[in-house]
């Protein structure tokens, strides 16, 4: 299901002297099966943007198109349409409320009015997709570890079986292992199950490992939008926003600045290591005594 924003502007507290324009004439189209990273400094409008895609905020002006339909046009069945978009908020574990994991994950499917056996099937499937087993089903979500709670909360969204999954900083506040576990199943959801995934993140390396396309936001506008490799070569613009390209990419860029024959659009450590090794093997010693200090 393709989703799009057309010239969307959103103003918080419109009319008051302290009105804030959170989105300023933003247009963005995301196709079926894409994986898109959404990055930008705090207050750049990322969260407001994803809430528009999920049909939770009505644009002050402009249109939100889900599957080609204007979500806020008269006579549109908004509820049904927006339930095909799954939105995982920041710290989703703060929204857990049921007595058992089973009941919490089942909350969404029950709201859809599905029969009991279908609800059970979806709960089991959602939990397995986030890498949790049946053993956890009858435990209280509040006695789990932080990482597990977060996965249960994400399972609660997956149980809606959305075609588009939007995650707002899904790994915030987790340790490296918890982060990797979450990123692993998000990648699986995209690659194996073919979900469209839109992920808000501060971690540019995380984005690079999931998404082909990156959208950079600043001050309520889309600053850069394109292939990860090309966006991440805008090192200076990113640094101005206090966003840092992945460390290996910056290393490659520094080396290239010093005349090493190395590509600037390498994203992961292995690729950069290989490129550096190749340079050294080729006897590139022009920079002897001029080791970059990164």
């Amino acid at each position: 299901m393709p989703v799009a924003l057309e010239r969307v502007t959103y103003v918080y507290q419109a009319g008051a002297p302290w009105a804030v324009t959170a989105l300023d004439d933003v247009s963005l189209a995301i196709d079926d099966g894409e994986a898109v990273g959404l990055i930008g400094p705090t207050g750049s409008g990322k969260s407001t943007l994803v809430q528009h895609l999920a049909g939770l905020l009505k644009p002050t002006s402009g249109r939100v198109l889900l599957d080609g339909q204007d979500l806020w046009a008269a006579g549109v069945d908004r509820r049904t349409l927006r339930l095909r978009i799954g939105l995982v908020f920041q710290y989703p574990e703060h929204q857990l409320f049921e007595e058992t994991v089973r009941a919490d994950v089942a909350y969404g499917p029950r709201n859809l009015g599905l029969p009991a056996d279908e609800v059970d099937r979806r709960v089991a499937r959602a939990l397995s997709r986030v890498g949790l087993g049946d053993a956890i089903l009858d435990r209280s979500p509040f006695e789990l570890s932080g990482g597990q709670m977060r996965r249960v909360a994400i399972a609660g969204v997956l149980a809606m079986e959305p075609r588009v999954l939007i995650l707002d900083e899904p790994t915030a506040g987790l340790d490296p292992r918890g982060r990797e576990e979450i990123m692993h199943f998000i990648r699986e959801l995209h690659r194996r199950d073919g979900l469209t995934v839109i992920m808000v993140s501060h971690q540019m390396e995380e984005v690079a490992r999931l998404a082909r396309r990156v959208v950079v936001m600043d001050g309520g506008r889309v600053l850069l939008d394109g292939d990860v490799r090309s966006v991440y070569t805008h090192v200076e613009e990113l640094e101005r926003l206090h966003l840092e390209a992945p460390l290996p990419t910056r290393l490659a860029a520094r080396l290239a600045d010093r005349g090493w024959p190395i590509a600037r659009d390498l994203l992961d450590a292995e690729a950069v290591a290989e490129a550096v090794a190749r340079c050294l093997h080729a006897g590139h010693d022009a920079a002897a005594g001029d080791e970059p200090d990164v």
Binding site: H94, F97, G108, N111, F142
Partner: protein
């Protein structure tokens, strides 16, 4: 959803009225409200209304916003006028009668008087809260009520509780907003069904909200203790309230206005 609500009705802009010491604003408001009940004549009320308009202008508060404060009590105002019109002034001239119900001139005038007093009272207190932030207001109250300490009233603790409550209203509203949206995205429907169904639909919002409120309370208590908080004893302030010449000026102006209202409304 809740973001558009004005919290505590504070209208956060700079103005000469906003800059006044909260204590003088509280005392002036009390003085004017007492004056309202000493004034009997309608010319006095007119002067009061004019004073409110002038202060609103000085405070750069839009009149529309100020008058909106009357909306919730509109019913009460009408009821006051009607009840008085029918119930009081048995012996004065009858203006209209419907069976045993009679409207007398005296009753009608008394009703109007009470209605206008009530409306002006609300406008004065709205003006106070529109131009004074909740934190300033509690600070001012704490200072003004300090003598009650000697009577064993824990003024500081009460003020601290009020400050914390006010401080966390916007935070909890934001939190509620986020939780409602998250559950809406999972197909929750807060508008459909009967009363019982709607109350039940709130459980997935209230449980996380309470959990988060307790978590925040725990964190706050720890943070305060870690920084050596031990109640009001010997506590100094970062923002000290200081009376300025403008407070004296405002006080004199208010006293003059009150005298004028009483004189006009003889």
């Amino acid at each position: 959803m809740f973001r558009d609500l004005l919290i505590g009705q504070y209208y956060a802009i700079p103005s000469p009225v906003h800059r006044l010491d909260p204590r003088s604003k509280i005392l002036i408001s009390v003085l004017l409200i007492v004056t309202l009940f000493l004034v009997g004549g309608f010319r006095g009320y007119l002067a009061g209304a004019a004073l409110i308009a002038v202060v609103a202008l000085l405070g750069r508060v839009p009149l529309r916003l100020l008058l909106r404060g009357l909306r919730p009590i509109l019913f009460l105002l009408v009821l006051t006028v009607v009840l008085h019109a029918f119930m009081s002034g048995r012996d004065s001239e009858v203006l209209a009668a419907l069976g045993p119900l009679r409207i007398t001139e005296e009753g009608l005038l008394l009703g109007l008087r009470m209605g206008i007093r009530l409306a002006l009272l609300i406008l004065i207190s709205s003006l106070l809260t529109l131009t004074t932030s909740p934190i300033e207001l509690t600070d001012g109250l704490e200072r003004l009520l300090r003598p009650a300490n000697r009577l064993g009233v824990p003024v500081h603790d009460l003020a601290m509780m009020m400050t914390i409550a006010l401080r966390f209203i916007p935070t909890l509203m934001d939190e509620a907003d986020r939780i409602i949206k998250a559950q809406t995205a999972r197909g929750a429907d807060f508008q459909q069904g009967g009363l019982l169904q709607r109350v039940r639909a709130l459980v997935p919002v209230l449980v996380p909200l309470f959990i988060s409120a307790f978590r925040r309370a725990d964190d706050l208590a720890l943070a305060k203790e870690a920084r050596g908080y031990r109640g009001g004893e010997g506590r100094t302030r970062f923002k000290r309230l200081r009376l300025a010449p403008r407070d004296a000026l405002a006080g004199v102006a208010a006293a003059g206005a009150a005298a004028l209202m009483i004189w006009l409304g003889r």
